[in-house]
Amino acid sequence: MKNIQILSILLFFLASTDGWAEETDIQMIQVIVSSQSELTTLNRKQVMGLFLGRARSFPNGNNAKAFDHEVGSSIRARFFEGLTGKSISDIDAYWARLRYSGRASPPKVIDNMAEILKEVSQNQHAIAYIQGQDPAELMLQDIVVVHTVDAN
């Protein structure tokens, strides 16, 4: 009986741990590129440079084209806040500054997950971000996770 109790407690903790891990994975936002881009990883500064319009090319020299989620969406706020440590309002003000001075336009918006995956899998210049996908399954679609953002 005592063994059963210990086993139950262990199972409870294992289940709890699994649940926590899943929750954590869901909270992580993955930065993805096409496997044809020949990229395997990007660091935080590189991702920031590409999504804030400061860089137009990947570190390997190939042209880069970033895609964004809809303004006002939860994932966009959590991605930029997790990536930059700034409020999404500051990011929006930053883009207003660039856009309306004629310097640059923010990344093109695709608000459909399937479309994002399709664009990234078919376009070696594309870079985007998604939430909570299995990297192995993404690999099957020729998509590579190059960075993760903790969007707690």
């Binding site: 590189q46 400061r54 409020s87 500051d90 929006d92 207003a96 500054r97 856009r99 004629g102």
Partner: protein
């Protein structure tokens, strides 16, 4: 917002490009037109995939709080109109259209409705340019572009993009020009750690300003500069931006006020009895004279903090111009949706009127009038601003701000006094004033 119907967008852009300048006269417009036409001929429809966006500010300020001084945002606004309509001070609506013509080529147009002396459609177009990005480093722009001599110059109409209700008046309020027609070249390089951007421009510009309080013909002054040219460098690393800029403007004609002044002193009786009057009036002349603007600025945003400052020096080759040094420092800290901020700005201009009064008493009034003209170009004042920005929804912000300004003797270069009588001295003595303002800023 992407709109697939170009009819509307094309009419929007072409309506200001073609008629405004006149294709026969403006090589700049012709260049843009030919460039765009090439893409059209190549089979890329001009009607598809325009990116149409906009920005707006709805504001109210206590512009009529005092009966001896009017709060103004800048000298292109009509003093009496602003005094009577406090909601006009900061309110504006902007519409922007951009289209990528081909990889490396795009066209941008922007029109802004706001309170101005000259509110024609042509004068409301802030941008209409063709850009060619030849590679990661070089880009070239041709057409009408916003002047970016100072940190906020190129987006000062977009209230959502900065924290205060308006750019610091001491630093930005006296600038007559907001855009120019010409050519700009940009060279930038760097890595993911830092970047360096060089830019140079040449072109011409014009504006109509209302310096002073009155609204008659000699109070609305048309100013025109050609050539204007300048260069700047911007260095960005992480959360720090440093910027330096140098620009030079040549004025090509006198204003109404100067012409009127010269007409008065051309009177043979005056010339005979007090020849120096003509010398003084001529010294005010801006025709073929130069103004040089130099500035350094920084923006630093460590964590939730926002710190920004600028210093500029203005020098001119003629007597009546704006002159002196300006500076400001703004500090803000974000607490969730709220960003309280404080700013202090200063403008130094302590020029004296260097001419002795006439010995003949009858000319004392004229002497006073001539002397008073210098006050219209004097900005010798400071402001302490306390404000808060509330980002209550996505791409929408409410701001509230109070300004405590000290205006030194005869400093009437931006804020006009109602105690103004044509041809007489205004005799403003150092005093302090406070105003509060609120705005709703958004982008769409």
């Amino acid at each position: 917002m992407n709109v697939g119907i170009l009819g509307r967008c094309f009419r929007f852009v072409s309506s200001f490009i073609v008629p405004i300048y006149g294709l026969h006269k403006q090589g700049v417009v012709l260049g843009i037109w030919l460039g765009v036409s090439q893409f059209s001929v190549a089979g890329h429809s001009l009607l598809d995939e325009w990116e149409v966006t906009g920005f707006g500010t709805l504001g109210y300020a206590e512009t009529d709080k005092y009966d001896d001084l009017v709060l103004k945002r800048n000298i292109t606004q009509r003093s009496k109109k602003i005094e009577d309509h406090g909601w006009l001070l900061d309110s504006k609506l902007g519409l922007q259209a951009r289209k990528e013509l081909n990889p490396g080529w795009d066209i941008v147009g922007q029109i802004v409705a706001q309170e101005k002396v000259n509110n024609s459609i042509e004068n409301s177009i802030e941008m209409a340019f063709l850009r060619y990005q030849s590679d990661d480093m070089w880009s070239f722009q041709l057409g009408r572009m916003v002047l970016d001599t100072f940190l906020l110059s190129d987006h000062r109409n977009v209230g959502y993009s900065y924290h205060s209700v308006r750019p610091q008046t001491e630093f930005y309020g006296w600038i007559p020009y907001s855009n120019y027609d010409g050519l700009k070249t940009i060279f930038e390089f760097g890595d993911f750690d830092s970047s360096l951007r060089f830019e140079a421009f040449v072109g011409k510009t014009k504006s109509t300003v209302n310096i002073g309080y009155l609204d008659n013909a000699t109070s609305y002054n048309y100013v025109k500069s050609s050539p204007i040219y300048g260069a700047g460098v911007t260095w960005e690393k992480d959360e720090l931006t440093l910027r330096a800029y140098l620009a030079r403007f040549r004025f090509i004609q006198n204003t109404n006020a100067i012409n009127q002044l010269q007409l008065v002193v051309s009177d043979p009786n005056i010339q005979m009895a007090w020849p120096e009057a003509r010398v003084i009036a001529d010294d005010y002349s801006i025709e073929n004279e130069f103004v040089t603007y130099s500035s350094i600025g920084f923006n630093w945003t460590p964590g939730p903090w926002h710190v920004q400052g600028e210093f500029s020096n203005v020098t001119s080759t003629f007597f009546g111009s704006y002159d002196g040094q300006r500076a400001y420092l703004q500090i803000g800290r974000r607490f969730g949706e709220f960003l309280p901020n404080i700013a202090y700005s200063y403008s130094w201009d302590e020029r004296d009127f260097p001419y002795d009064p006439p010995t003949i008493p009858v000319f004392q009034g004229l002497y006073g009038g001539l002397k008073d003209n210098l006050n219209s170009g004097t900005v010798d004042q400071s402001s302490l601003s306390l404000g808060v920005r509330w980002d209550f929804a996505s791409q929408k912000a409410l701001k509230f701000q109070c300004d405590f300004a000290t205006i030194d003797d005869n400093s009437l270069g931006i804020y006009p006094t109602q105690d103004t009588v044509e041809g007489e001295a205004r005799n403003w003595e150092k005093d302090s004033r406070s105003w509060c303002s609120t705005t709703f800023d958004w982008v769409f």
